[in-house]
Subunit: 192 residues, 2 copies
DNA sequence: CCCGAATGAGACATCTCCGTCTCATCGAAT
DNA sequence: ATTCGATGAGACGGAGATGTCTCATTCGGG
């Protein structure tokens, strides 16, 4: 039977369509379904066969994003080593889905009547816990709240993803630019 | 004659409408013209009397944003003192228009056929020059490109504006959170 | 007190986009 | 070569947003 092989191929295509859609929608949120389809290299009809409508597409983007980032978090093994090491691994794992994250962060439709999406809240909690652990270990400043550091991490990942898309930052520097700025800051060490 | 006084009042109303529109559109870019009008506390007809259409509204947002930030840059006196001091003043001056900046950064319609808006490019150049000067003075790390630092500054301002809107960060901490993270980073100094 | 400008609310036609449909074509498995 | 499923292109009606209009009301100046 060719069922399983087919389903897998479809799933990969589906995810790739979603990634292309995220890359476009994160920069032009008013893009037409036709534009989304073109950006993904498929026809509008095929796009509609995969996702019932625009709402369903956004829902699917949310679900894929949350799923991918939960996997990324697991792969980053945030509990091993120091929080700083975990953060480095997290950024590395997040890189392939950075455009997806950029879309999710800017698209506030994750909120359904002032209520945050459950999976998103779970991710927030994990990142916050990571920063809090870093503070308790003495490696992270305590005058910057975990909530802010979490938002800043998301923001910097999205910003850097856009900068790479626009050619302002080299793709190979993605992790370095984010981690070095987030951890070390722009100021040059005085004692140097 | 009541002409001049009237024009001034209108201009203030107009700018306030634009600010409200930016705050809404930066979080819900698909918002209806009616929603924009409600968010600004005016009727849809009045909104249309000020701005011919949605495109005109976005154009006006661009122009206001660029104008406000050029004023902010002037007020920040970027040439006086060290680049770091100039950066501090810049963030302080930018705070009142942070939501506007958040809209402009995420809304990529500043690009008209792969060509960046002229005024925006000018602002970019000023920020980049500021960071470059900081590097030459020895106060800013040279392994982080001015282009990336510029984007990161915009990104952090927008992110922090959203965090304040969502109640994740206290409004009074706005400048501190941005400046401290951007300059010093999250890592706690080792020699402490 | 009166007058004029600006506003808000609503009606209306128009237009764009959406969702669904059909049909011809393509590719892969048999 | 044949068949079956998926795809792309295009047509179609419908829904929602847009842009324009009118009209009653309000507000401020004369």
């Amino acid at each position: 039977m060719s069922h399983s092989g087919y389903a897998c191929l479809m799933a990969m295509d589906r995810d790739q369509v979603l990634r292309d859609a995220a890359a476009l929608l994160s920069r032009k949120s008013t893009a037409t379904m036709d534009e989304v389809a073109r950006a993904a290299g498929i026809g509008r009809a095929t796009l509609h066969r995969h996702f019932a409508g625009r709402d369903a597409l956004v829902r699917a983007l949310e679900e894929l994003g949350i799923r991918e980032f939960e996997v990324a978090f697991d792969n980053a093994r945030l509990d091993e080593g120091t929080a700083v090491d975990g953060l480095r691994r997290l950024v590395a794992e997040a890189e392939p889905n950075a455009e997806l994250l950029a879309f999710l962060v800017t698209e506030n439709q994750l909120f359904e009547g002032d209520q945050v999406h459950e999976g998103w809240a779970r991710l927030d909690a994990r990142v916050s816990a990571l920063f809090r652990r870093g503070q308790e270990e003495g490696h992270i400043r305590i005058d910057l709240s975990p909530a802010w550091l979490t938002e800043a991490l998301y923001g910097l990942i999205g910003t850097c993803a856009w900068a790479v898309m626009d050619g302002r930052v080299a793709a190979k520097d993605f992790q370095y630019m984010i981690i070095e700025l987030l951890l070390g800051g722009a100021r040059r060490s005085v004692e140097k």
